[in-house]
């Protein structure tokens, strides 16, 4: 793992520990904000660790929102503290296993919610993919990094303001050219 990535993930994990330390209403908003910060590294380094931490934190925020205060923070906190400790000690394999455990924990919070949780994680991937696109990464590359299809990403991006940006050739010139191709 790149040293910059490692340092940033450690900072993010510390922030998550701080946020989940005391159960508050603002936890959801703070986690979502934190997840937006993590996507900067995911854009630059495009490594699995930066990407998975971004998806994890966004998914956490959605699960907490859905569970409306009925989520046991203690188990979550223990896993996050373990993850941070393993990363600090450069035990990368164990750190990655802990992150996997966190995803598994989220997925098994409630059997009735299973489908919803799968959707949450999938939505988190799409959301983070759209952020990469917003940061200047191409649609295909963003989909590849997140392991999602371009169909899903395009469908989502169309509903955001990300398609509403100027630059390049003007529409009149482009349309005139296209017109000339078809008789």
């Amino acid at each position: 793992m790149d040293e910059v990535v490692k340092r940033d993930i450690l900072r993010v994990l510390s922030d998550v520990i701080g946020i989940l330390g005391i159960e508050e209403e603002k936890d959801i908003a703070e986690l979502r904000e934190l997840s937006n910060h993590t996507i900067h590294n995911a854009s630059i380094f495009q490594d699995e660790d930066s990407v998975s931490i971004a998806i994890l934190i966004y998914s956490l925020s959605k699960v907490i929102e859905r569970r409306e205060g009925k989520l046991n923070y203690k188990v979550l906190l223990k896993l996050i503290i373990d993850g941070k400790r393993n990363l600090e000690s450069n035990r990368m394999d164990v750190y990655r296993k802990t992150i996997k455990k966190l995803f598994n924990f989220i997925s098994t919070i409630d059997n009735k919610l299973k489908l919803y949780i799968e959707e949450v994680i999938n939505q988190a991937e799409i959301k983070k993919g759209s952020k990469l696109y917003a940061h200047g990464i191409s649609l295909g590359r963003a989909a590849e990094i997140l392991g999602i299809s371009q169909w899903e990403l395009m469908f989502y991006i169309g509903k955001t303001k990300l398609t509403d940006i100027k630059g390049g050739v003007g529409v009149k010139e482009r349309l005139n050219y296209a017109r000339g191709l078809f008789k």
């Binding site: 191409s138 295909g140 590359r141 509403d164 940006i165 630059g167 482009r174």
Partner: protein
């Protein structure tokens, strides 16, 4: 032979708007072929066929390929050219000691196919690949602003990339549906509503935008103004 090469995006936005059939109609007005590359075909078909989402849409595209409306272009030369261009494109910008991997093999394969076939156009809906070709400094500004870091430009690779791609004409699915509208290919949708022509044009333009085509609200207004006088 005349050729137009398509990226993944325009095929997706046409399909998700139930407008894929327009390609058949447009081809009747074009004296050449519509190409996609093998990697673009994989993105469009194989991936959704492996999942639950967009499976039916993938079948529609596959049918289009079987009917030779879309032809799959592949060659050893294409793969070589794609790797070369991909290497250049993904070394154009860097920050924090890393080259930013901006583009993906499939997108670049479309550009390479357009070059090798001396294509009349490359149809691409997504913003960043388009900016890389038409206005790379704007892309640099986006990267810098969004990542809150200073972006270094590798002028040597960027200039070589620009030099190789400078002849490529880019159009989007919005231009395709506008031309289809002009040619009367959408006339079956003219129904009894106030301003039927304007309503139809706005409907298809907003349809492709809302399904991912990168076009601004102002551009849509401009197209409508030009087309509906």
């Amino acid at each position: 032979m005349k050729v137009i090469v398509f990226d993944t995006g325009p095929i997706i936005s046409l399909t998700t708007n139930n407008l894929l059939g327009l390609l058949t109609n447009l081809k009747e007005h074009y004296t050449g072929s519509f190409y996609i590359t093998n990697s673009i075909r994989k993105e469009l078909i194989e991936r959704p066929l492996d999942t639950k989402k967009f499976k039916f849409e993938a079948l529609q595209v596959l049918r289009c390929i079987h009917a030779d409306v879309l032809e799959v272009f592949d060659s050893k030369e294409l793969r070589k050219k794609t790797f070369h261009l991909l290497d250049l494109a993904n070394k154009c910008f860097s920050c924090r000691g890393e080259f930013i991997q901006i583009v993906h093999f499939a997108e670049i394969s479309g550009i390479a196919a357009a070059i090798l076939n001396n294509a009349e156009a490359f149809v691409v809906d997504e913003r960043n690949t388009r900016l890389l070709i038409e206005d790379p400094m704007r892309l640099k500004d986006i990267l810098s602003k969004k990542l809150h870091v200073s972006i270094n430009v590798n002028k040597k690779d960027l200039n070589e990339f620009r030099d190789i791609t400078k002849g490529i004409k880019l159009i989007r699915s919005v231009e395709l549906v506008s031309v289809a509208y002009e040619l009367g290919l959408l006339d079956k949708y003219l129904v009894n509503v106030p301003n039927p022509k304007k309503t139809l044009l706005e409907a298809v333009l907003w349809g492709v935008k809302l399904n991912g085509c990168s076009v601004s609200n102002r551009e849509i207004e401009e197209i409508v103004r030009m087309e509906v006088k």
